[in-house]
Symmetry: C2
Subunit: 516 residues, 2 copies
């Protein structure tokens, strides 16, 4: 249960400005992003620079990082298979030419792109088109990759270092190394303490989820066990210094302190499940390569103004979660909650809301969180060809028993538990579960909020007992959900694979061992 | 393009009444159905009886029959495989006991259910639970099935007559036969003329669709080729006598003539695709038995008030279609258009709109147009357990080439055309097509309306060229669509089969022969 400043009030503000202005239509107003200005790390390279705009009426909220709230999440396991290696990249290599930083800085274009890492100088011109993060690599060329990699530690994986070594052309002059790495305090030095039940898949930035079986223990997830999905270090914000700016085309700029936010607007509560677009990514078995990008830019996101301004959308500026102030990991002091929409738009550590005619140019809005045809790869992808993910498709997960569990049948049956959810407030109307590859399906009992209107933001927990072969050693369990538009899940990931590893909503399948 | 009385005006009427009343919330208002009172046939057995109510704020519109408008449709082929037979049922059978109509009328309960057909007397008690239309069979017990079967000629199929013969217990006394069948003028005597390109799957009531290849010839389907889905005979309405009644709890009753409808409200146009829930039913291969029910009741349907009263829903009272007055088959003089929702709610020959707290009790609202788990059959189905279909899931169809066509590749490729659509105004964002079982997918070029907001009521036409094996004799083509919520289609019908044969939205697949 999130307590928050009423979205009605936010909308009143926007709408009253709209009415004051000469605009003909609400959709000509948009909110776009700017970066969070109160980072503790000071590592934001373009602090103070507004990272603007889009096409068409959209609401963009910005600050730090989008992440979870309601409960759902399952971060990628794609790095688990990587073996520890002994690649020591960036050391001085005898016999290679020396280059000064000044010389490196002359190669900062797509036709000649050099960069340094520790003592190494690299010509990455040929690599630009292969970079998983696209042209964001250009932010680093002509200088040192070190500060970016410090922020996105995933680059320090052995396979990335090995890849880099192919482009080595020289050594950086020794005096220049110090210049490149000074003032490089660890931006992750002030991360909050996390609950040990959160299993990290990435430490810097921090990404973690609780074991699935914990998720079905309660309808509302305890704050400490709520999944964390960060793209950058967690900012340290002093609430006395905090202010939120609302601005945009045709509207008068408004700045509110945390106290004003709490006192001037009615408090509103709702239950909502938040799901990352990358939930169940590990099941997209073709997935490979890096999935985090080194832009150095602040996080920003956009949502259509039509959704943000519709009272039925119940958009919140949240300062509490389950009755407690937001924790640092979840966006202290204020985050946005856009229920029914991918978690990436529910921006944490909110600093600005900007009404704009164009969509955010942020990397996360334009070149991430989009779906593509299974045959599109990094050589052929055109990010402009796909819309940014807003509502997510219907999905379900088996939480208990987990894959590989040993289970004893009772009266020939085993109990299965899980969750299901659909975007856009669509209610889960049925969950079917099978233990025999779909020869027979069993309808699960649903636990969900009793909403009379069509805005089911919270998830649905479900339980079912399915018969198993009394002599069997194993059984494979499948689950699929149906939402109120009668959309259902694809049977397998074979034809929904996509290069960003998002939208993994095939039937969930687990294999359990039966104890006789 | 449908020209119509502005939905805004309709809503104004409803909302202003709402504001006048003491009601607290719009969702406490509902419209429910009544039957159309101006049938030419006079065959409606319960003429004048209001068939009411529901749970929760919903808008119910009523009149005759729901059917198509925008374009999409593909009626079942399930009767095609039935061989012509020589079953002559209902004739006098020597050696069986004689029963009077008076005696038959004493057996009109579920514990003893008799009925007559021509000279035959049948004890159908055991059959009640197997009747595809459920307990609607009770309308006919204790008397003659003849008038119901006259209305629903599908019962006169050889396999139905053969089934009936199993329950034969006697002969109806000769004098009573005349009594049973007098006044049985053919209720279908005054049906309109139809275009020969419409391929009927049922004549009484009339159900027909054009060949799929005609559908992709134009973005808007010509009226004459627009699919027809009727549940009853087409009423003959004199527009001078026509009136529409708007009534309900807490609102003042309003009656409007056709002229008043046209003059008092602004004209509003929109493009919308209308799709029957049973589109592509023939692909649900487990489907069997009758799919039409003999209730004798007028058609009625409900939609949630929240949708009907939301200006964004663009609900229309339509009196024109593609710039011409509605034809009799499409609802002359007035029908409802509820874009983004299953065709069954876009009621034709509209007579009443009733705001009500409860959902329509009509057979078509309660016991049809609902989806169930694949393992639910007629013995286990609980119609109350599933919500009435409103929005439909994402779907696509390959229109050209058709199944079995002979096609010559050009430069190693063949052209494929089709349509795609999703319920709730969700835009089609991508259509993927494969000619090699999904090893490689090709993204189709889309033709769609350029709507800035999220209300894509019209369908999307698509074209793509796919490579084929230069030495191959056949190729199997699959298509799948993705909508703006990134929902996609299930791969096959295996796990979406349901006893009503609705919601058939698996990948569409056709096999074509390649000419060398």
């Amino acid at each position: 249960m999130a307590s928050a400043i009423g979205r009605a009030s936010l909308k009143t503000w926007l709408i009253s400005r709209h009415v004051d202005s000469a605009a003909k239509s609400l959709t000509s107003y948009i909110i776009h992003d700017t970066q969070f200005r109160k980072s503790s790390s000071g590592s934001y390279s373009d602090e103070g620079k507004s990272t603007s705009s889009w096409t068409l009426g959209r609401l963009t909220v910005a600050g730090g990082v989008a992440a979870g709230f309601g409960l759902l999440y399952g971060w990628s396991r794609e790095h688990e298979g990587v073996q520890a290696a002994t690649v020591e990249e960036g050391v001085f290599v005898k016999g290679l030419p020396n280059y000064s930083l000044d010389e490196v800085s002359k190669h900062s274009t797509e036709s000649s792109a050099w960069m340094t890492y520790k003592r190494g100088v690299y010509d990455v011109t040929e690599f630009i088109k292969h970079h998983p993060g696209g042209k964001t690599i250009m932010l680093g060329v002509g200088g040192a990759a070190d500060p970016f990699w410090h922020l996105y530690a995933v680059h320090k994986e052995p396979h990335v270092l090995k890849l880099l070594s192919q482009y080595r052309i020289g050594n950086l002059e020794e005096d220049d190394v110090e210049h490149q790495t000074k003032n490089m305090d660890d931006p992750y030095a002030n991360e909050p303490k996390r609950h040990p039940a959160l299993k990290p898949t990435s430490q810097k930035p921090f990404n973690a989820e609780p074991p699935a079986a914990l998720l079905v223990a309660n309808f509302h997830t305890p704050n400490e066990l709520f999944y964390v999905r960060n793209h950058l270090p967690v900012p340290e914000v002093d609430e006395k210094d905090y202010s939120l700016t609302l601005e945009g085309e045709g509207v008068k700029t408004l700045t509110l302190t945390l106290d004003e936010l709490k006192k001037k607007f009615p408090k509103y509560k709702l239950s909502a499940a938040i799901q990352c677009a990358g939930n169940r990514r590990s099941e997209l078995s073709k997935f490979e390569g890096l999935d985090l990008d080194a832009t150095g830019s602040p996080y920003g996101a956009s949502v259509p103004a039509e959704r943000a301004l519709d009272p039925k959308s119940e958009v919140l500026l949240a300062y509490e979660m389950n009755g407690e102030p937001l924790s640092r990991d979840h966006g202290f002091p204020v985050r946005v909650i856009i229920p029914g929409v991918v978690g990436a738009r529910s921006v944490k550590w909110l600093s600005n809301i900007i009404l704009s005619k164009e969509e955010s140019t942020s990397h996360w809005q334009q070149n991430d969180y989009k779906g593509f045809c299974p045959s599109v790869d990094w050589d052929t992808v055109d990010f402009k060809s796909a819309p940014a993910i807003q509502e997510l498709p219907v999905m379900s997960l088996i939480c208990e028993p987990g894959n590989g569990w040993r289970v004893k049948a009772k009266d020939g049956k085993i109990a299965v538990k899980g969750y299901a959810w659909s975007g856009g407030g669509r209610k889960i109307v049925r969950v079917d579960v099978t233990g025999d590859q779909g020869k027979t399906w069993h309808v699960a009992k649903l636990q969900q909020e009793d909403k009379k209107h069509g805005r089911h933001w919270a998830w649905t927990l479900w339980t079912v007992e399915i018969p198993v072969d009394p002599k069997g050693k194993q059984t494979e369990i499948w689950a699929k959900a149906v939402d109120s538009s009668y959309n259902t899940q694809p049977e397998s990931s074979a034809h929904i694979w996509n290069l960003r590893g998002v939208l993994s909503n095939a039937y969930h399948k687990v294999i359990v061992n039966l104890i006789q």
